[in-house]
C-alpha cells in the first residue's frame, strides 16, 4: 500500500471540501470516463471554473486526465480517497473500543457506588 504523506492527505481533504468537486467525483465513480465537456454539462458554472476544479482534483491525485484528439478524458483515481478514508478510520478503530471500555468501567463503578450507598442506607 502506498503511504501518502501528510501534505498529500491535506490536499485530498481540501479537495473534498467543495460540493462541486464532490459531485464531479460522484459522477466519475458512476461513469468510467467523461470528457471535460460532459463533466461540465450538469453544473451551472462555466467551463473555466470546471477546469479549475479539475486542477484541484488532479493535484490531489483524485483524477487522471488524458488527451484524445480534441477532447480530454477524465477518470477517477480512487486510491488517495481510500487512503484518506482508511486514515480517518484508524482513529475510529482506536477510540470506539476505548469508549466501549470506558462505558463498561463507569457502569461497574456506578454499580459499586450504588451498592455502597445501599449499604450505608441499611446501616
Amino acid at each position: 500500500m502506498v503511504n501518502y504523506q501528510t501534505a498529500d492527505l491535506d490536499r485530498v481533504f481540501s479537495a473534498l471540501v467543495d460540493p462541486t468537486r464532490r459531485a464531479i467525483l460522484a459522477r466519475l465513480e458512476a461513469e468510467e470516463s467523461l470528457s471535460v465537456g460532459e463533466l461540465a454539462q450538469p453544473f451551472a458554472i462555466k467551463l473555466p471554473a470546471v477546469m479549475k476544479h479539475l486542477d484541484v482534483l488532479g493535484q490531489a491525485g483524485l483524477i487522471t486526465r488524458s488527451k484524445h484528439g480534441r477532447t480530454v478524458d477524465v477518470r477517477l483515481a480512487p486510491a488517495p480517497l481510500r487512503e484518506a478514508a482508511d486514515w480517518l478510520a484508524r482513529y475510529e478503530r482506536f477510540w470506539s473500543p476505548a469508549l466501549d471500555r470506558l462505558a463498561a468501567f463507569a457502569e461497574a463503578e456506578e454499580a459499586q457506588a450504588r451498592a455502597a450507598e445501599a449499604g450505608e442506607d441499611g446501616a
Binding site: L102, A103, E109
Partner: protein
C-alpha cells in the same frame, strides 16, 4: 472543522464518568484501541495541566500520547490537546489534534459525546460515526451530509 464524533450512552452518573476520564486510574482502565493494559497513565486535571498515557497494542506497537488540558469543567466538559511522543501513526508525527468530551445527563445516566478534531491541517472532514469502509460512495455521501 475536520473531525469525527462518537457518542456513547452510559448507565452511570456524570461524576463517575468524569472521574474515569480525568484520573490516572480511570484512564488506565479503558484507554487504547484494544484490551492490553495501559503501561502508565498520568494526568494533572486542571487547565494547563498535562496528561501522558503510555500504552501498548496487540500488534506489538508501543505508544505514548500526551497533551495539555485546555478546558475542564466537571462533570460536563473536558478538552485536551493530543499528540504522540512515540508510536502512533507515522503520518501523525508532530501533529497536534484536539479532543473534546461533553457529558450530558440523560435518564438513567449520561450521554458522552467524543470529538477528535484537527486531524488534518486546514481541511474540512465530515464526522464519520458509522465506520467508513473506504468506498467513494460512502465518503462522498458523508461529505455531502455536512455540506447539506
Amino acid at each position: 472543522m475536520n473531525a469525527f464524533t462518537l457518542v456513547r450512552r452510559i448507565a452511570a452518573r456524570p461524576s463517575i464518568v468524569f472521574e474515569a476520564l480525568t484520573t490516572a486510574d480511570g484512564i488506565a482502565a479503558w484507554w487504547g484501541p484494544d484490551a492490553l493494559p495501559v503501561v502508565k497513565a498520568e494526568i494533572d486535571p486542571r487547565v494547563g495541566g498535562d496528561y501522558r498515557v503510555h500504552f501498548r497494542t496487540l500488534d506489538g506497537g508501543d505508544h505514548e500520547a500526551f497533551g495539555e488540558i485546555l478546558e475542564i469543567d466537571p462533570p460536563t466538559r473536558l478538552v485536551m490537546s493530543w499528540r504522540y511522543a512515540f508510536g502512533g501513526e507515522p503520518l501523525e508525527q508532530g501533529r497536534v489534534s484536539r479532543i473534546e468530551v461533553d457529558l450530558r445527563p440523560i435518564a438513567g445516566g449520561v450521554e458522552l459525546t467524543f470529538n477528535h478534531s484537527g486531524l488534518v491541517n486546514d481541511a474540512s472532514v465530515a464526522s464519520h460515526t458509522n465506520g467508513w469502509t473506504g468506498s467513494l460512495d460512502k465518503l462522498v455521501g458523508k461529505f455531502g451530509e455536512v455540506a447539506g
